[in-house]
């Protein structure tokens, strides 16, 4: 009998701590498969952040560093500058990257650090129990916006659009993990991002719209539909930056 499907070697055997229905597991798998397929798993270094994905250092089958909240891009800078020949990526949620770590992500991008950022945006603080994130949609109910988010607590922060304005960076794309085709598309985007790093093109970031059915108080299926039908209204999918294709560079 031939093997048609097996677990990727890019992940350890540690069971995920994610809630049933959460798409973090899928995104982990995509990253791990890409590292394995590109043949870079053995020289990759995972930079874990704080939030639901805090244990990423236990899941990816690579050397890893766990970072203080929001500081993963700074930690990645320190690692990559010492080991320019290694593949360094951060795996960060929207609270970590867009709120407390806004300064670190912007400046790492602006320095065009040759790292890859996997930015998982589920528009909520999952780990702490469902509070408002900077990416929370207008009218979205969270434990700290019980009446729905209003303008007084800020607008949903569009990180991909913002990061895409950085002068030198290589690649920015927003994808979603909502169904088969979009997941395969996300994998292609992640692959592209790591290829940018391998080719020393510089900073790449893949934002993945992801579900938090527990925090959103929806069923897993409703959550996936929420990504497709609602989140994408605020966070349109697409490539926001691909320097290689720019004629003026």
């Amino acid at each position: 009998m031939s093997t048609v499907f097996k677990k990727t070697g890019g992940l350890t055997d540690t069971p995920f701590s994610y809630c049933p229905g959460c798409t973090h597991g899928i995104i982990h798998r995509l990253v791990a498969e890409v590292l394995e397929e590109l043949g870079i798993l053995d020289r990759s270094i995972t930079i874990a952040s704080v939030g639901c994905s805090v244990f990423a250092y236990d899941y990816f089958n690579t050397d890893a560093l766990q970072s203080p909240h929001g500081r993963a891009p700074a930690v990645a800078t320190g690692v990559k500058r010492m080991h320019p020949d290694k593949i360094v990526f951060t795996y960060q949620g929207d609270g970590d990257l867009a709120s407390i770590g806004a300064a670190e992500i912007i400046h790492a991008a602006n320095r065009n650090e040759n790292i890859t950022v996997i930015f998982v945006n589920n528009a909520i603080y999952g780990m702490t129990g469902g509070q408002m994130a900077p990416t929370t949609l207008y009218n979205q109910v969270t434990t700290t916006t019980p009446l729905g988010r209003e303008a007084i607590s800020g607008a949903p922060l569009k990180m991909s659009e913002m990061i895409a304005t950085m002068e030198h960076i290589a690649y920015v794309e927003r994808c979603m993990a909502a169904d088969g085709p979009s997941i395969m598309k996300t994998k292609r985007a992640i692959r592209k991002a790591f290829e940018c790093q391998m080719n020393n093109e510089g900073f790449s970031m893949i934002e993945v719209l992801s579900s938090c059915n527990i925090g959103w108080k929806l069923s897993p299926v409703e959550s996936l539909n929420y990504i497709k039908n609602t989140m994408t209204q605020t966070f349109p999918l697409g490539v926001f930056r691909e320097r290689k294709n720019e004629t003026n560079h």
Binding site: D58, L65, Q66, S67, A74, V75, G78, M82, A103, H107
Partner: protein, 361 residues
């Protein structure tokens, strides 16, 4: 043997660190340590080493965490307000047992305070502001040469114990130019293979993970016990003071850093002008605090005076750690006023016959 050079404290520290074999420096501008990062921006890239001007002190210490975690000999520097911002990262470095050197050039506080020299960051350095049961080794040089020597010692201790190590000086030592000899040879590099997350899992045959998260209290308690055993070892081996006049028994002046330098002059005046044989005890490590050596150095004395450029932070610890019949006095200034030998001499004469006071709050 290196030649004598005439260098600013900040510049000397930077050049010494490079010569000791520094591989990466991450910093952020703040007075009075600016010449340190300016010098680094020049000499590090010129020697094929890493220099990054970070977006904040927070980012700088996290770059240090990353580089140290990946196995590099790494350093950052800052001053009071900036060191406050680094505390979270320092706690992470301690929790993950990463060797790194932090040069703290202290100015006056609290808050934005001022930019002139002070020693009001004794608590900040020794007790830290990061969370958890952790310790940072703190060396306290009193001159540019001692600062240069301490940077080397800091790398050795940081790497020996895999622990963040701080060199605490004040703006006076950083800003002054002095005759100084720099090191000429790099320190030997330790073998980090067993723990550094250097992206070499294949060669090593196993993953290395840098982490301080343990949700299981049994594991975290065990981790704390392991750290504490290491701290006890450091306390036993590395506590350090200099008894400048071991033959003097009338009394003592206890100080560190710039205050110790000034106390040396005051001791001479007490002898010349008042016929008192008073010794200057210079604390060279603030953590570990040289408790036993200090107790012995003031044994049998009626009076010892703590001289510091803060409002009694060191005094409080001397009182707590010596617990002797010796009356401990305090003389100090803060806010950027530099203590003078007049302050110390007059303070000594005024308090030497008195009762124990509780100066600290």
């Amino acid at each position: 043997m290196s030649k004598v050079e005439f260098l600013k404290g900040n510049e000397a520290i930077a050049k010494a660190a490079l010569n000791y074999g520094l591989e990466a420096f991450f910093g952020y501008p703040i007075t009075p340590q600016n010449e340190l990062i300016e010098t680094m921006s020049n000499i590090m890239p010129a020697n094929g080493r890493v220099f990054v001007q970070a977006e904040s002190e927070i980012a700088a210490i996290n770059m240090v965490y990353g580089a140290a975690g990946a196995g590099a000999r790494v350093m950052t520097s800052s001053s009071s307000v900036g060191i406050a911002l680094k505390q979270e990262g320092i706690s992470f470095c301690a929790g993950s047992e990463l060797p790194c050197v932090i040069v703290s050039v202290s100015r006056s506080g609290p808050g934005l305070g001022g930019i002139l020299p002070a020693q009001s960051d004794y608590h900040q350095s020794v007790y830290g502001g990061g969370n958890g049961d952790y310790r940072v080794i703190v060396l306290a040089p009193a001159s540019v040469q001692e600062a240069v020597d301490d940077v080397g010692k800091a790398f050795v201790l940081a790497e020996k114990y895999r622990n963040p190590t701080m060199v605490l000086l004040d703006g006076a030592i950083a800003q002054m130019m002095a005759s100084v000899k720099l090191p000429t040879e790099p320190l030997p590099y330790p073998d980090n293979t067993s723990w550094a997350a250097s992206g070499a899992a294949k060669e090593r045959g196993s993953r290395n993970v840098i982490n301080s998260l343990y949700l299981d209290p049994t594991k975290l308690y065990a981790h704390n016990q392991k750290l504490h055993a290491k701290y006890r070892e450091i306390a036993k081996n590395e506590a350090w003071l200099i008894d400048h006049q071991p033959e003097s028994h009338d009394g003592a002046i206890i100080a560190y850093g710039t205050s110790a330098k000034i106390a040396l002059g005051a001791v001479q005046r007490l002898k010349d002008e008042h016929g008192l044989n008073v010794k200057c005890i210079q604390l060279r490590t603030l953590w570990p605090f040289p408790k036993q050596a200090l107790k012995e150095a003031i044994k049998g004395m009626k009076f010892a005076l703590v001289a510091e450029m803060s409002m009694g932070q060191l005094f409080q610890d001397v009182l707590a750690f010596t617990r002797t019949d010796t009356v401990i006095g305090y003389v100090g200034k803060a806010g950027g006023e530099i203590i003078t030998s007049d302050d110390i001499v007059l303070g000594y004469l005024a308090q030497m016959g008195g009762e124990q006071i509780e100066h600290s709050v």
